[in-house]
Amino acid sequence: MPEPIGPRDRGGTAERTDGARPDVLPDVLPDVLIGRPDDAALSAQLLATTTRPFTRGWKLGFAICGALTLLLFALVTLTVLRGIGVWGNNMPVAWGFGIINFVWWIGIGHAGTFISAILLLLEQRWRTSINRFTEGMTLFAVMQAGLFPLLHLGRPWFAYWLFPYPSVMDTWPQVRSALPWDAAAVTTYFLVSVMFWYLGLIPDLAALRDHAPTRPRRIAYGIFALGWRGSVEQWRHHKVAYLLLAGLATPLVVSVHSIVSFDFASTGLPGWHSTIFPPFFVAGAILSGFAMVLTLIIPARRVFRLDNVITLRHFDAAAKLLLVMSWIATYAYAIELFMAWYSDDPYEGYQQLVNRPGGWYAWGYWLMIFCNCVVTQLLWSRRLRRNLKLLFVIGLLVNLGMWLERFEIIVVSLSRDFLPSAWHLFVPTWVDLGILTGTLGFFGLLFLGFLRLVPFVPVAELKQLRAELAHEEAA
């Protein structure tokens, strides 16, 4: 019989630091794993996330997210039935919320891959506790993002024309366009993320196969565990494959947002036509991703009482990265302005120096600067880096700021391009707003399900980390 596991097994986790009092440890970096709980205790604590009772709060969360998901699907149906005229898009603003949301969501996904792949290669131990959480975020964000390239098509039922297949028309995708690149990149990114996530999940699924409370659940987990036994051979290939996937995902994550940026940079539109876009977009993506990580993990940590495995060390590191990425974004904004002035291109100059900071949508520009460049400067302070309430607010603001960044790039650039005769403003419709809200709900629904279905802190990896830490401390 599986051993019953639950809160009573938490044993070694009683010793905790108080998140609300970051000044307790002013100079020392907090530990990545507090209290060194043993394997059984860690397993019990972390596997228990899948067996928490369905409290009223959970039901409410699922209900809200479910309702918003229904709204999303209803509006998607409306859009497909009536045409994307139900959105606010027009000529010249032919891309609106659809592509903004696409870029925003896919950018959010990047933090997950960044944490799980790049930080793995860089041997950052603090990634271990949060990598699966952020990978889940990646998957669900990419799923939201993936909706939009389909949905924004005039004729979504022909979306398969973006992929090469031997058609009776003898026609093929046109690969000089950045959109088939996008299709390839987003598809690859989603599939590789799923693979990476799943590979890491297998040992923990095996643990749940052996310890989930009911037989149906154990069978379900068992099927996905594929019969994992933890043999030496399995661990050996698992480790190599995991490292290889991390090695592949690292250039992939850079390429994906670079390719997304090509949607803009490969055109001639003032405000889009810029070589700085690939690094600018990648940095912006990670900025928004880390903001979303903070937004999600601060409440999750509290709800699941994971203070011992997700410690102030994690938040401190995430906050520092947020600051770095914020500066890269700030640099990019500055370079855009500088190049617009230095190039003496009248169209680019008007776009960057007149229209964005002073045009109809100037409020969006300055709010973006505030969120992405100004607020983040608070993170210079160690004390504020460990103030979770503040971090949560900053996370929300940066999310907003990054959405506005895409709004500035897409809508504001399109609304004022070369010929003033064609200029026209964009105003979103309720369908635009509803779909954006709906994806937030759908994302939340998937994420809540994820939190309850699989251990979102990697148990095996954390146990191994503990063993390594113990070994080092012994030495």
């Binding site: 009536r82 045409g83 994307i84 005229g85 606010g88 898009n89 027009n90 000529m91 010249p92 603003v93 032919a94 891309w95 924004h152 098509l153 005039g154 004729r155 979504p156 022909f158 979306a159 024309w161 973006l162 028309m169 026609t171 093929w172 995708p173 046109q174 000089r176 366009s177 950045a178 959109l179 088939p180 299709a183 949607d263 490969s266 055109t267 001639g268 539109l269 889009w272 009248p346 169209y347 008007y350 399109l414 391009d417 070369f418 010929l419 003033p420 005769s421 064609a422 200029w423 026209h424 105003v427």
Partner: protein
């Protein structure tokens, strides 16, 4: 009734019509479904509802020549496909061949017929393409003097009016179906009374056949009254000429001979009945090859911006009421320079004391110097919206300059009894008020709507026992009358009309009357109790009687009878009669705010307001669609505290200040008010508001109904101009459906301008050279494929912005109508737009217009971003748009620097309704979710290619004319192959002012422009 064996019961005709139209609906380029449509629509609609109605022999088509191109014998037509566009499974459809195929017809090959479209009595000759009996496209008739191969936007849209499903279909009595016998009873009673109590209201007519008929009516029914009415038919010019020459005369211009043209509130190139010819004449003198080209000089003095003001070298904005004064000052200055002995001494003395107002003294003097420097080679013209005295002064100046007989001539009025009392609508009301009218026949027009406020026609009609209206629509007049009878569209009837210059033009039908209906002639013949006859026979008989020298068949082939222009008459200026009025000219002090009512450039006086194509066509100056607005200058808007879209209540005062001579003062309401949104027009004269007529319709025309407000409600009398009004901001607003909100070009080099003198020097030429030539590229350029390389060149100097090209493009290419709401959101679908930019100070700006469509870039930015090869490049240099491959990413539009691509945000195309019959079968009808844009009329190019190959001859660039090129009144558009070194388009490219828009973007556009060259007077700033 011939039904050609269609097995349809009476009761299902109407339903069958709908069904047939529904079948034609989806993406078709065929015609077979129209067979059913034919069967249904050819049945006189009232019979469907009233089987008991006796047949009308006069309306029954029996003549084989007519029915040859009628729908009925269409009984299927060849092999066109009808049905679903993108259907994957194999569509199994029917082919319905003719039972007996007409000899001149090959299914799939369109035929063209010459006919004429008539407005205010004047004919514009057109050629109409017919696909298996279905008229689809109107082109100008090059052999017709009032067309010269061009048309206005209005003619282009005529097919849509023909196929307007909202046309009247039934004879009604107070809205309820009525039999034709009821009308016959009225006519018989009128005849029995020898016209006693009968009054006819007709539109002005120039047709000798109609005139003969009217004379017969007068003779047979001597007691009958006849009145002609059309609100914007020439009236002031005739009256002014009567003042100057003693009798009403029609002014005829020869502008090719004019070096200097002064237009006093006269829109010669767009609003005039002869506008197409005058536009051609003016532009023929303004085609700039290089700095050494001779060029006429055009001065426009006007209140609102007009097309003439657009192309003018100098434009001075003067409120309408002050132009009278300007004219007087100009006359004084001219006479002062000439020192002529003609005028009576008193007048000379009076004029000697006239000094121009200080602010306009420089240009009055300069213009006078120009005019006197070109005696016999200059012309001064006054517009119809100016009082007669201005016309008289213009005549005096022309006489003084010796222009008469050279640039200006006079003919007897072409319209029947024009300038006579019978053209006074107030006469009808007076007659009714006298109780002298018991039977009123209103045959055509819409006088209840267009009557000046001082002519209370609607109420008067209500007092007539038997009133009958005949016309296309169930509109205001039709509803005011007891009976309404469906009329015939010009494309449905036989007849004749004269052009403004008098040229006789035959009218032939392109199609059997869609809804039955009667022509005016039918009613008049019935009134005279003529025996029933076929309309064509009647025309042939009358024609051979009235025009014995020109056989009808030949005239129908040519579309005009050459040599029938009205002869010019010798005139003598009556200085003596002029002296008192000239002395009084401009003596009144101006009101704080005045009103000018102008015909709308597209809906005219409201007769075309139910045509969605014309409603959605942006008004050339304001770019307003689907609405009517109060145009005012920025300063006046600031004074009134309004911005674009703010509602203004415009109120005209009651009687008293009225200066007209036909006001029925007693009928005037104390005040009349309409509400309109304001729209700011830089360059508009201050303290004046211009309102276009034709809106505020409240009849049964669903499309037109409820749009804007009627300017006629502020119009107090037919010869009153520029009344004082008050305007009060209402505090609320109505968003305007404007296609171009931006006024400025942000100093970007888009619509380049220069002066003729500048072009002669190196500076301007060098500056222009920066906008053409090769641009560096990382990739090697693809070599041109052998064969034609299509290209276009647009001359901005002669472009008047009249927008006929936009309409022609829409008619040719099946572009959908989207409605005001979508236009407001920037979703209009016109492939060609006319960009308009103001430059210079807001009170005296220069307006630049620039037709902008797909530039067919050789290095097209749109193509390389399309993910599915839906937009590609053809070997002959076309930027192809393959609709059926498009998935609608809209990436191409984002990367188009010219933003000329259009997207089907919704399913914009019509599905039901007769209007789809106006579609061009050679162009795919686009589905929802696909991109579309100008194709250089690729269907015409491929057709010409195929024709050349079938005929085994080489393709010449001149074999292809794009729709916009063909319609252009000033021939501003050249199109052809770059491989033909002597083609116009290559010759244009050699000119020093040829340039590419956004040349610095490296797109290598195939459409280039000739910069707009002005020829300003060096003596003026």
């Amino acid at each position: 009734m011939p039904t050609d064996g269609f097995d349809l019961e009476h009761g299902v005709r109407q339903e069958a019509l709908e069904r047939a139209v529904a079948r034609v609906g989806h993406g078709w380029h065929g015609i077979a479904a129209l067979v059913e449509l034919a069967a249904a629509s050819a049945w006189p609609a009232e019979r469907a509802a009233h089987e008991a109605a006796p047949d009308d022999p006069g309306a029954a088509p029996g003549d084989p020549a007519l029915s040859r191109r009628s729908f009925l014998q269409l009984a299927g037509s060849g092999a066109a496909a009808v049905g679903l566009a993108a259907c994957s499974s194999r569509p199994s459809r029917e082919i319905l061949p003719y039972a007996s195929q007409p000899p001149e017809l090959t299914p799939g090959v369109p035929l063209h017929y010459a006919t004429a479209l008539v407005e205010d009595g004047f004919a514009t000759g057109v050629l109409v393409a017919s696909h298996e009996g279905r008229p689809t496209k109107v082109e100008g008739n090059p052999d017709h003097p009032a067309s010269l191969g061009a048309t206005r936007a209005i003619e282009q849209a005529a097919v849509l009016q023909l196929f307007d499903p909202e046309r009247a279909r039934l004879i009604t009595e107070r809205g309820a179906p009525a039999p034709w016998a009821a009308i016959e009873a009225v006519l018989d009673a009128a005849r029995a009374a020898r016209g006693d109590g009968l009054h006819l209201v007709l539109e002005p007519t120039t047709s000798p056949i109609a005139i003969e008929l009217i004379r017969r009516v007068r003779a047979a029914l001597p007691a009958a009254g006849v009145t002609f009415w059309s609100p914007f038919s020439p009236r002031a010019s005739l009256a002014g000429n009567r003042l100057a020459f003693g009798r009403p005369l029609q002014t005829q211009l020869e502008l090719r001979a004019a070096d200097v043209i002064v237009a006093l509130d006269a829109d010669l190139v767009a609003e005039h009945p002869m506008a197409l010819a005058y536009a051609r004449q003016i532009s023929d003198r303004r085609r700039v090859v290089d700095g050494g080209s001779a060029m006429s000089r055009l001065y426009a003095i006007e209140a609102g911006y007009t097309a003439t003001g657009v192309i003018a070298d100098h434009r001075f904005s003067v409120r309408g009421s002050q132009i009278e004064r300007v004219a007087g000052e100009l006359l004084a200055a001219v006479l002062g320079r000439l020192g002529l002995a003609g005028p009576p001494p008193a007048l000379t003395a009076r004029l000697a004391s006239v000094a121009p107002a200080a602010e306009r003294a420089p240009w009055i003097v300069a213009i006078a110097a120009e005019l006197t420097g070109a005696p016999g080679r200059s012309v001064v013209v006054a517009g119809e919206r100016q009082p007669l005295v201005v016309h008289a002064i213009a005549a005096a100046i022309n006489a003084a300059l010796g222009n008469l007989g050279r640039t200006v001539g006079y003919t007897e009025p072409v319209a029947f009894e024009a300038g006579q009392p019978s053209h006074d609508l107030a006469g009808v009301v007076r007659a009714i008020d006298r109780g002298a009218v018991t039977r009123l026949l209103v045959l055509g027009g819409n006088p209840v709507y267009t009557a000046p406020q001082g002519v209370a026609l609607a109420g008067a009609i209500g007092r007539v026992a038997d009133s009958v209206y005949l016309g296309l629509y169930d509109h205001e007049t039709a509803r005011a009358c007891r009976y309404a009878v469906p009329g015939l569209h010009e494309l449905e009837q036989w007849g004749a009309a004269r052009a403004y210059d008098g040229t006789l033009t035959p009218i032939q039908p392109l199609i059997e009357p869609l809804f039955g209906g009667r022509s005016v002639a039918d009613v008049l013949h019935r009134l005279l109790d003529d025996p029933p006859a076929d309309a064509r026979d009647r025309l042939a008989a009358a024609w051979s009687r009235l025009v014995p020298d020109a056989p009808l068949e030949a005239a129908l082939g040519l579309g005009a009878v050459p040599g029938t222009a009205a002869p010019h008459v010798a005139v003598e200026l009556a200085w003596g009669a002029l002296a008192p009025v000239i002395s009084a000219a401009g003596a009144r002090s101006p009101a704080p705010l005045e009103l000018a009512i102008r015909p709308h450039p597209f809906v005219h006086d409201g007769r075309y307001t139910n045509n969605p194509w014309l409603l959605e066509l942006p008004e050339p100056i304001t770019k307003l669609t689907w609405d009517c607005a109060a145009q005012l200058s920025p300063a006046t808007a600031a004074r009134l505290g309004v911005a674009d879209g703010d509602l203004l209540a415009l109120t005209v005062a009651g009687p008293g200040a009225a200066g007209g001579d036909t006001v029925v003062a007693a009928a005037l309401a104390p005040t009349a008010t309409i509400e309109l949104p304001a729209i700011i027009v830089p360059g508009h004269a201050d303290d004046a508001i211009t309102v276009h007529a034709g809106f505020g319709r409240d009849g049964g025309e669903h499309t037109a109904r409820g749009i804007g407000a009627s300017a006629f409600r502020l119009w107090r009398s037919a010869l009153e101009f520029h009344p004082a009004i008050t305007a009060v901001a209402r505090g609320d607003r109505r968003p305007l459906a404007i296609t171009q909100a931006e006024l400025s070009d942000e100093d970007r080099p888009l619509a380049l301008t220069g002066t003729l003198a500048g072009l002669a020097g190196p500076a301007v030429r060098d500056a222009l050279a920066h906008h053409r030539g090769a641009q560096p590229s990382l990739y090697a350029r693809r070599p041109h494929a052998p064969g034609a390389q299509w290209a276009m060149s647009i001359d901005l100097t002669t472009c008047t912005g009249c927008s006929a090209c936009v309409m022609a493009c829409a008619a040719e290419n099946n572009t959908p109508v989207v409605g005001a709401r979508q236009v407001r959101n920037g979703r209009e679908m016109h492939w060609l737009r006319i960009d308009r930019y103001y430059r210079g100070p807001a009170d005296a700006p220069v307006l630049a217009v620039q037709p902008m469509a797909c530039q067919h870039c050789e290095l097209a930015p749109c193509e390389y971003v399309c993910p599915v090869e839906a937009t590609t490049h053809s070997p002959d240099g076309l930027n192809e748009m393959t609709y059926n491959r498009c998935i609608g990413t809209r990436f191409c539009s984002n990367n188009c620097p010219y933003k000329v691509r259009r997207f089907n945000w919704f399913d914009f195309k019509d599905h039901r309704g007769l209007r789809i019959a106006a579609r061009n079968p050679d162009v795919t009808v686009r589905d929802r979710g696909v991109m579309e844009k100008c194709t250089y009329c690729v269907q015409r190019i491929r057709r010409a290619e195929i024709d050349a190959r079938v005929a085994d001859r080489p393709l010449a660039g001149s074999d292809v004319r794009t729709a916009c090129q063909q319609v252009c009144p000033t021939q501003a558009i050249a199109f052809g192959s770059l491989t033909e070194v002597d083609s116009p388009v290559v010759e244009h490219r050699r000119r020093p002012h040829s340039y590419a828009v956004l040349h610095d973007q490296g797109t290598a556009p195939r459409t280039q422009y000739l910069a707009r060259i002005r020829n300003p007077n060096g003596a003026l700033p």
